[in-house]
Amino acid sequence: MSEIEDKIREIAKKLLEEGKVKYFIGYAKGSDAFCAKPIIIDDPKDVDKLIWSPCCVNNLAVYLVDEIKKKPRRGEEPDLRPVGIIAKACDERGITVLLQENILPRERAYIIGIPCSGMAEPQKLEKLAGEKGISHKAIYDMHIREEENEFSFEAEGVKEALPRDEVLADKCKECFQHNPKECDIVIGESVENPQIEKYVTIKELEDMSLEDREKFWEKIFERCIRCNACKEVCPLCYCEECTVEKAKPMRWCSKSVDKSNNAFYHLMRAMHLVGRCIDCGECERVCPMGIPLRKLYKKLEKEAEELYGYEAGSSSEDVPLFAAFTNDDPDEFE
C-alpha cells in the first residue's frame, strides 16, 4: 500500500515540477480516518498531502468535468494542459464514458491508474471502530492499511484487524473490473478480476411481486428530499442544465417534493444513465436519505448487458447504447 502512496507522490511531484500537468487531483486524509477526501494540488511542495488507503472510495472523475466546463476569465489565455488524476477501475470507466461522449478531450487528462480490489465503506468502518471501543479523538491520527484479506488499523498502540468483506463497500463486492485500462501510467500490480455473481443487489427485488416492488419503491421515492446530491456527485450528469429540473422552456418535473415528482425525477435520471452508469456508487454514498439508487441503475446495467451485450465504459470507441441498433435486436413488441 504505502509504496503506492510513495509512487503517487513521486509522480505528482515530477508532473507538477515539469509543468506537465495543470494540477493534480488525488486523495488526502479526511476529517476522520474513515474517508479520504479529494484534494487538488498545484504546488509540488504539497504532494505529501496525497495518500492512498482503502478509504479512497470517492470517484474523482467528476472533477474533470468541472475542469472542462470551467470558462477562462475574459482576456485570460485558457490553460489547456492536462490534469493529473488518480483513477481506480470504476473511476476510469467513468472517464472512458466522458471520452466516448466527447466531453473530455483525451489530452486534457493525465490518468494515473491504480488497480484496486475494493475500498472500505466509511460507515462500516466507523461502526466497527465504535464496537472496538476506539475513542473518537484517536480516530484522526489512525492509519488504515490493507493486508491480504484484512483491513488493519492501528492507533494508540492498538492494532485491530477487520475481515475485508465486513468493511468492503457494496459496490466493490459486485465489482468485476479491478484494473483500469485507459491510463497514461499504472501504479501497482494488476489484480485478478474475481468471479463473482453479478447483480446480487437487485436479486431480491427481482424476486418480489409487482405489488411489493411498487410498495418498496413508493416508500423509497417518498423519502427523497431532492437535494440533488446524487446529480452533483455523478461524473456523468454533466448537462449544462438538467432537463429534469429546468423550467425553461418547459418544466418536465416540478421541484416540489412528493412521491410522484420524486419518482419522475429518479426514473428520468435512470433513463439518462442507461448504458452510461459505471456503478461507482457515489450517488448512493452521498445520499443523505439512504436511497438505494444502485438498485435502480444496476437493473438497467443488467438489461443493457443481457439484451444488447453492452457494458458501459468498456471502451471509448463503442457507439453509445441508445445511438446504436442491430436489425435483430430483441423485439418483444410484435
Partner: protein, 143 residues
C-alpha cells in the same frame, strides 16, 4: 376494481404507418373502445421516455405506442432506436412495480387497421381490469 371505471389511455402514433393504420380502422368502421386519445408524431423515434413517464404522471392509466414495423420506417431507422429505448424503459417501469400491461408498444402498418382496433381493445380491457394507475400519478394539482 371499480365496475364503472373508464380508463384513460394515451397513444403516441407515428405519422406514416400507425397513424395511417388508425385512420384505416376508421375507414373500415372497425369499432373499438373510446378510451384512447391519440397524439401524432412524425416518427416513433421521436418518442422520448419522458413522454411516457409524463403521461403516467399526468394520470394516464395506460400508454400505447405504435410505429412502423422494423424495416418499414419512413425515415429508414427511427423505429430501431425506439425499439431499444422503449424496451429498456419497459423493463425499468416493471422494475419499479408498474404493471407491464399498462405500457404497450406495437408495430402497426398503414394497412393494419384491424390490428390497431384489436390492440386498443386489448389494452383497454387489460387496464380496465387493473383499475386506476396511481403509482406514478401526480398528487398536487397546482402545477
Amino acid at each position: 376494481m371499480l365496475p364503472t371505471f373508464e380508463p384513460k389511455i394515451l397513444a403516441f402514433l407515428c405519422n406514416w404507418c400507425s397513424y395511417a393504420g388508425a385512420d384505416l380502422a376508421g375507414v373500415s368502421r372497425f369499432q373499438y373502445p373510446p378510451n384512447v386519445r391519440i397524439v401524432r408524431v412524425m416518427c416513433s423515434g421521436r418518442i422520448s421516455p419522458r413522454f411516457v413517464l409524463k403521461s403516467f404522471q399526468e394520470g394516464a392509466d395506460g400508454v400505447l405506442i405504435a410505429g412502423c414495423h422494423p424495416g418499414d420506417c419512413h425515415y429508414s431507422k427511427g423505429n430501431y432506436y425506439t425499439r431499444r429505448r422503449l424496451t429498456v424503459l419497459g423493463k425499468l417501469l416493471e422494475h419499479v412495480g408498474l404493471d407491464p400491461r399498462r405500457f404497450k408498444v406495437k408495430w402497426i402498418s398503414a394497412s393494419e387497421g384491424g390490428k390497431f382496433a384489436d390492440v386498443v381493445k386489448e389494452i383497454t380491457e387489460d387496464v380496465k381490469k387493473l383499475g386506476p394507475q396511481n403509482s406514478l400519478k401526480r398528487v398536487d394539482e397546482n402545477e
